[in-house]
Amino acid sequence: MVPHVRTAGTRDAIDEKGRGARPILRPARLTRAVRLAAIAGTSALLLSACGSGEDEHASQVEADKAATNDPALIEKGLYMARASDCAACHSTEDGDEYAGGLGFETPVGEIYATNITPDTEHGIGNYTLEEYTRVLREGEAADGHNLYPAMPFPSYARLTDEDIKALYAWNMHEVTPSSTPNRESEIPFPLNMRWPMALWEEIFSPLEPWQDHEDKSADWNRGAYLVQGPGHCGSCHTERGFAFQETALTGDEEGYLGGAMIEGWRAFNLTPDMQDGLGSWSEQDIQTYLATGNLKGKAQAGGPMADVVEHSMRHMSEDDLRAIAVYLKSIPAVDGKGEQGEAVNDGDREAESEPQVATRFNQGAPADDVLLLRGQPLDKRPDDEDLIGQLTDATPGVRLYLGHCAMCHGADGAGTQDGYYPSLFHNSVTGSVYPDNLAQAILNGVQRENNGHSVFMPAFDDSLTDDELINLMDYLENRFGEGHQSETLASPEARRQQLSDKLEDWRKH
């Protein structure tokens, strides 16, 4: 599935506003919705609006709007909208805010996020608070049609009445109405039928509005609410089942936040598992990461998570980020098992005799290859013009590293002292058994607005051949990740083959 590029193509030079990188944003949950449509789908049953109650309905809308026109409530609603990251799906860079339109190609047609501005014709301006509540918690729109679970209503089901009221206040009074029409999904009949979604909701969306657990701390309760509910972390970080449902919606269920693949990226294990998860992170570490997207010497947010940090998490209060950290530290550790088998790094063999446990955050060491290579001519025969530009396929990864990467990340891979250019050793992306995020960062770059400054790594998809990418990744993994031969992989050749097998998928994203 290829998400639409959010920026319009630059038609001519004057259009080049220089907004920076290609959009990396992938509201991932939208994308697999169609799979569900394919699973379900038999006949349509759309409820028609009830004519006799129209006046009553209209006055209820007016009453609900009037009752929520309160600056404090609106302010709180904005905060909750950020906590829920509504913008991720419902805003596009070129369109009006919250006017929807973000589209996704799927094998059976395109689907589009909808206009959620308070426009009465194209948006949700005619929603009563009750209807608003129902669409958030149950995925049922005011006209009765059921949403695809691209909309994370199984998580939003946790939202409290109070927070939904605040969201309603913000949505109706603060968001600028936009007359951008909704784009019909291009999914053909019969796959486009919505009624089976109601059944889906019955089966796979069991959560009730949040109620505090009296035996837990206030922080824990707040954190659990934010993570399970508005934050809908599990939408990406929990494995999906056969019907696209999250296999666990709370920490009481097995596998919750144990990590999953999403849009060609690895949404990492957020549980306290020492090797695969965040077991080695302090609560402060989690806070720092969510607030900035950068935990120096451990992990940096890229891809979809960069968007989450930029649009959502960095706007959270310190108290809420701490609460999230407290909750994440409390959930059962998931022993990371991915498609590549046990999540065990080479370093673990040493770890048996050392007190420190090998994690994906503490692999690798500074490189010194530059000492051997510097002064060695790049070209086999630098005077031979016939060889110019013809060395690529056989080029060792270390050369590619020095030529492509070293001028920012350093010849030794240590990055910069201020952490703007991250260290490549002691880095989650090189230290993980999952090569996906390393490949994605290289191919698509990294872009993150980060509290007043831009974090940016250019995309290298056009400047690396397949062989070069594998050579480079091979070098990065072995040099800065201590090698990723998990127990199921016997040889470096097998790893190369594994990378090679995934290349097509990576290039697509």
């Binding site: 630059t10 030079a13 004057i14 220089g18 510097r374 001519p377 013009e385 590619l400 030529g403």
Partner: protein
């Protein structure tokens, strides 16, 4: 028109893939035209250029990372192509340029100045040189579009003398300590040292990263924070333009009406290929372009294409430069950030232009560690250990260097012609007859006085003047623009007189050289040509 274009291989053939050709190819491809770019040189990859630079001994050899192709050589500092340019004049025209996909902006310092309005009317204002057939106002919009296309930062709070309709696309990075201190110390004494506009990212822009201060803009920006022609080559190719590399155009075949019917090129094996297009754009710099035009002899063009009045290749200009270096009385540590961020613009314009050349002076911010290390190690007795380190630190931190551009006037006698000496494919090498006039020399004497004042203001010692003129690679005038075909090569639209479907996109079309780097003007003229071609095709 549709019928006509079916008879051609493309709507447009662009000869050359530097910033000029690439901007045009990109614009036209985006507009749905079929475009073929012919580049004499090979493709080069940034990372390979970077690694060649990192592994070469002489870091000031800016051509080293760009090995010359055998079939389409360019001037090198060392080796067999060191004398590729044939010098016949009293002054050598030591141009450096790159024949490779992307062109010479692979290595430049990215200075992106606009000309002054008075630069376009030098003759009528000051009685010297020539007037352009177009004025500043005709180019202002294109200047801005060029700034957006290239990604230019500049000072919005300083009047640089070129009126603007919009702010710079980016704000400048902060000045380095070196540049800040020098401007603080000299500006109160009648110098206008300003932050110069450059095509370099101070924030992520156009999918390219922010400058991270590798301080080797020349010979290669390793991360693409600095603009280079390759950016628009790649954009053009993504938009559908077709680029053929190692395609050495050697002949433009025109018919009796003056139309260019064929563009003929050799591949590196010497095999000839022929292509045709509704329009042909020559964008192969101010040397190879007039050389090609003069080489294109047939019954209809016995003196070469566009050369019926013997104007092609004449009026060769550049910015003859002098310099000064000294050790300041305080550590300045040149080398942090880009290689150059400031210029002194006090003498870009004024009544003095009646008598001597306008000019721009600029402070180098190149790290001098290697240079000073070499110097210290060449001295006797040999210093070692902490003494050696201290000497290197002391000199590298205090080293100051200024250079300058002087405006050379267009003189018909300064010219480039195809030489009888040939390259490996048997094609003529460029031959130069060039001299520097008193107009520049008088100005250079004045510049020397300013250098001395600056050195004094900075408490300078070990002052060394470089009085010998050096070339600054601003190859102007050789296909110059004018309304009268008798004394110019292209018209105000950059269309070659007498050849309706032939255009020149090059600094060669600039009738005067001004006092600033010419790339932004090349880009503006190129976008203007692209606009015209989009309408015509």
């Amino acid at each position: 028109m549709a019928e006509e274009s079916r008879a051609y291989d493309a709507d447009v053939i662009v000869v050359g893939s530097g910033v000029a050709g690439a901007l045009i190819a990109h614009r036209l491809a985006e507009a749905g035209k079929s475009v073929i770019m012919l580049e004499a040189g090979p493709r080069m990859q940034r990372w390979q250029i970077v690694e060649r630079f990192r592994n070469q001994a002489n870091k000031m050899d800016f051509m080293g990372p760009y090995p010359a192709s055998k079939a389409a050589p360019h001037p090198m500092l060392y080796g067999e192509n060191a004398d590729y340019l044939v010098q016949k004049g009293e002054q050598a025209y030591d141009a450096q340029y790159i024949r490779a996909v992307g062109g010479t902006t692979w290595h430049w310092a990215a200075s992106s100045w606009r000309f002054l309005p008075s630069d376009f009317v030098l003759k009528s204002e000051y009685g010297v040189g020539r007037d352009w057939p177009i004025g500043y106002d005709d180019l202002e919009d294109y200047y801005f579009r060029a700034e957006v296309a290239l990604g230019v930062w500049g000072p919005n709070d300083v009047d640089l003398g070129s009126p603007r309709s919009a702010e710079y696309p980016m704000a400048p990075l902060p000045l380095s300590w070196n540049e800040r201190r020098v401007s603080e110390r000299i500006n109160p004494h009648g110098f206008d040292m300003v932050t110069e506009p450059v095509a370099r990212n101070s924030r992520p822009y156009d999918e390219r990263p922010t400058c991270c201060g590798n301080n080797n803009c020349m010979p290669i920006c390793p991360i693409g924070a600095m603009y280079s022609g390759i950016i628009h080559v790649e954009k053009a190719e993504r938009a559908g333009a077709r680029l053929i590399d190692n395609a050495i155009v050697h002949h433009l075949e025109s018919d009796a009406s003056g139309k260019i019917r064929e563009v003929r090129y050799l591949d590196p094996e010497g095999t000839q290929h022929r292509l045709s297009a509704a329009r042909v754009v020559l964008a192969a710099n101010g040397i190879e372009t007039p050389k090609l035009m003069q080489m294109s002899v047939n019954a209809h063009t016995p003196d070469g294409v566009g050369n019926q009045n013997d104007m092609v290749g004449r009026h060769l200009m550049d910015h003859p430069g002098t310099g000064v270096s000294f050790l300041a009385d305080e550590p300045l540590w040149a080398g942090r950030g880009p290689q150059e961020m400031t210029s002194i613009i006090t003498w870009r314009d004024g009544d003095f232009r009646k008598d001597f050349a306008s000019k721009k002076l600029h402070l180098s911010n190149i790290a001098r560690t290697q240079q000073m290390t070499t110097e210290v190690l060449s001295e006797t007795p040999l210093r070692l250990g902490a003494d050696l380190q201290a000497q290197i630190d002391n000199r590298a931190s205090r080293y100051v260097q200024f250079d300058s551009f002087h405006e050379l006037l267009p003189e018909a006698a300064n010219r480039i012609t195809p030489s009888k000496k040939h390259d490996a494919l048997g094609l003529p090498r460029p031959e130069f007859r060039y001299a520097i006039d008193d107009y520049v020399k008088r100005s250079a004497a004045h510049t020397r006085e300013q250098y001395a004042r600056i050195a004094q203001l900075m408490g300078g010692t070990d002052i060394a003047f470089r009085d010998e003129f050096s070339n600054n690679q601003h190859i102007c005038g050789t296909t110059l623009m004018g309304d009268n075909p008798k004394d110019s090569v292209v018209d105000r639209d950059c269309r070659v007189h007498g050849h309706d479907n032939l255009f020149v996109a090059s600094s060669g079309s600039m009738p005067t050289v001004g006092s600033v780097n010419c790339t932004l003007t090349i880009a503006a003229l190129s976008l203007r040509i692209a606009d015209l071609l989009e309408q015509e095709i």
